[in-house]
Symmetry: C2
Subunit: 382 residues, 2 copies
């Protein structure tokens, strides 16, 4: 008998401008090549190429992003895979509900692995090992959330407080509590305590178990998802969920709708180089650096500079005598700011929104500095 | 009888990359609009529009710059004006010698005013007043150099040490000495002393007197200039000096060839808002600033920033939370550096030269941020 296969459910409907000027309202983070030559979505897809363990994925996105998502799925080399379009954003619970219903319709015993499309995972074998380690408990009816061993008192993530080890599954733990993003003092206490972990927002469960718990704790979500699926329109490329039905769902996350209420929650701690890169400063932190601490991506040049993050997709960027700066150059915009303030991109974004500037919404060319530019540093093509 | 008219001789053959990425080897400073909507050369031409005082100018430039120079002369609205092309760079003395020979050929009593094409002069009436004040002494056979009342211990300029007031011309002084660019301690002593002035490199003299002194102190220059003029090729647009003859001249400045040796030198101190802007920091210093000390030219946006110089010719530049930076964005390059290090642009330029990068040599589009961009600051068009 084959080992049980797990359907990847890839959430790819998110929008965001924290990585402006690269990320745009109509071209968010998951479509961008941020930590290598492939986009975050492509990186995500590449984690599930082993067909003996994973059937083709189910990607949830929206109308605005459907073509780039389809293109990236095509370029991933995967055969199959479904693209489901949310008519409107309702957070993660209704999207995962629809995915679980589709999975159960195909196989009543389907297992699903819910992942974001914009997370970095440095250690893929490690990640897949944790999925495998969690599978027996998930098959036994547990809803598994993946928790990340924290490496710093990060205030940008939610935390999971671990409870007792799970009987019969010594690598897993009960969930004592889900904790919202803390302030820095609490974050420091969490890291010192040793039993608080970052909440990665990734889940493994039997689709039917999830639907059962959803019926118990958030029936309105389940009903909306079910109706939107019944009213779907399917063409060769996309599955469009029924708009009115889907819009009737509460706007709620999987954590809030199910995980915080169910007594079936369990968690598995992971040390897999995970990051939800939400700022240029974080991208600098996880990148390989040169001897001066600089990260130079694309056609950039750092002279007497230290600890800078420089990225140019479209023309030469030269920095001279500066420390700790982020410089991002795209086809139509340049951003310069201190690395330590890179959480404040919204201050710029808000002004661009007020000014109705197109540099906030749309991108004009595919943004792939790798593979197409000559580095002045090395003279080599990436 | 008309007052004696003065032929402007505008030296416009200079190259330089101190204002990279705007200034390029094939598109130097004088062709750029740096302190307003007109280029430095156009600003220079505008100083001589009063035909009752100035006949059409004589512009000395080179083959590589002849078309932009001709275009800017045309756009200046001046009728007439000659463009003389140096076959090779030989510093200022042979160029001024050729100009003086041409002026004398047209009028044996011609007066010429030698100016650079890349200097800022804030107070044009003041400047013209000083020219007028110096004219009688120049007509009486003095070689007048314009000295600038120093406002700071600048190490980027040469100095003129004033001697005694000139008999019969109380506003003018003898030249005690020409002084090379000093170090900062000497510059501070010069400014404190009160009788040291910046050497502007502008001159007023009778063309014949200059030629007489040249024959005395630098006959090889005069001979080369005379021969190159005899061998000139003239077409409707340009006067091309004979190449071999001109190349035979020593490479020497007017100061070295004549002014430091002649006993006819005199100087007139000027307070006319003069600057030889050689760095982005200097351009920041002379520009109007907003309440936070920022200068934003073109499509730029400064958020929580102070004392920055931001110039974008081609796309949105947003800076956030930075102080004392220069950010320059052109069609093909971006430069970011501390304002205080803007004398060090050569460090970048040298690397670009080693890498044979086109961003150093040629410009691809006319660079005029004024008049064509919407400011996000004000919503107004410049």
């Amino acid at each position: 008998m084959n080992a049980r296969r797990i359907t990847p459910v890839i959430l790819s409907g998110g929008a965001g401008t924290r990585l402006w000027p690269l990320s745009r309202e109509h071209y968010p983070k998951q479509l961008l090549a941020l930590s290598g030559p492939r986009s975050m979505l492509e990186e995500t897809l590449q984690r599930f190429t082993d067909a003996t363990r994973f059937p083709p994925p189910l990607i949830i996105t929206n109308e605005a992003l459907r073509f780039p998502v389809a293109e990236q799925l095509l370029h991933s080399g995967m055969t199959g895979g479904s693209i489901v379009l949310e008519p409107v954003a309702r957070n993660t619970a209704p999207a995962v509900a629809a995915a679980a219903l589709m999975a159960v319709a195909a196989d009543p015993e389907a297992m699903i692995l819910v992942v974001a499309s914009d997370h970095v995972i440095g250690d893929i074998p490690g990640f897949l090992g944790r999925v495998q380690a969690a599978l027996p408990a998930a098959q036994a009816g547990r809803l598994i959330t993946f928790s990340i061993i924290p490496t710093r008192p990060e205030t940008g993530y939610g935390y999971i407080h671990h409870g007792a080890p799970l009987a019969g599954h010594p690598e897993l733990f009960d969930v004592a509590a889900f904790v919202e993003k803390p302030d820095v003092e609490r974050a420091q206490r969490f890291v010192a305590a040793g039993d608080y972990f970052w909440n990665s927002g990734m889940f493994l469960f039997s689709a039917q178990t999830f639907l059962d718990e959803l019926a118990l704790h958030a029936p309105a979500v389940l009903e909306a998802a079910g109706r939107s699926l019944a009213e779907r329109q399917t063409d060769p490329q996309f599955v469009r969920l029924g708009a009115e039905a889907f819009a009737a769902s509460p706007k709620i996350s999987v954590d809030y709708a199910v995980m915080e209420h169910t007594d079936r929650a369990a968690t598995i701690p992971c040390d897999i180089g995970w990051a939800d890169v939400g700022s240029w400063g974080e991208l600098w932190a996880i990148a390989d650096k040169d001897a001066d601490g600089n990260v130079v991506i694309g056609d950039g040049m750092a002279e007497r500079a230290r600890n800078c993050y420089i990225r140019s997709d479209h023309k030469l960027v030269a920095v001279l005598g500066i420390d700790d700066l982020v410089v991002i150059s795209t086809d139509d915009a340049v951003l310069v700011m201190p690395r330590q303030r890179s959480q404040d991109t919204r201050l710029v974004v808000d002004r661009l929104r007020d000014a109705k500037r197109s540099e906030l919404t749309s991108h004009s060319r595919v943004l792939r500095p790798w593979g197409s530019y000559q580095s002045i540093q090395t003279g080599e093509r990436f």
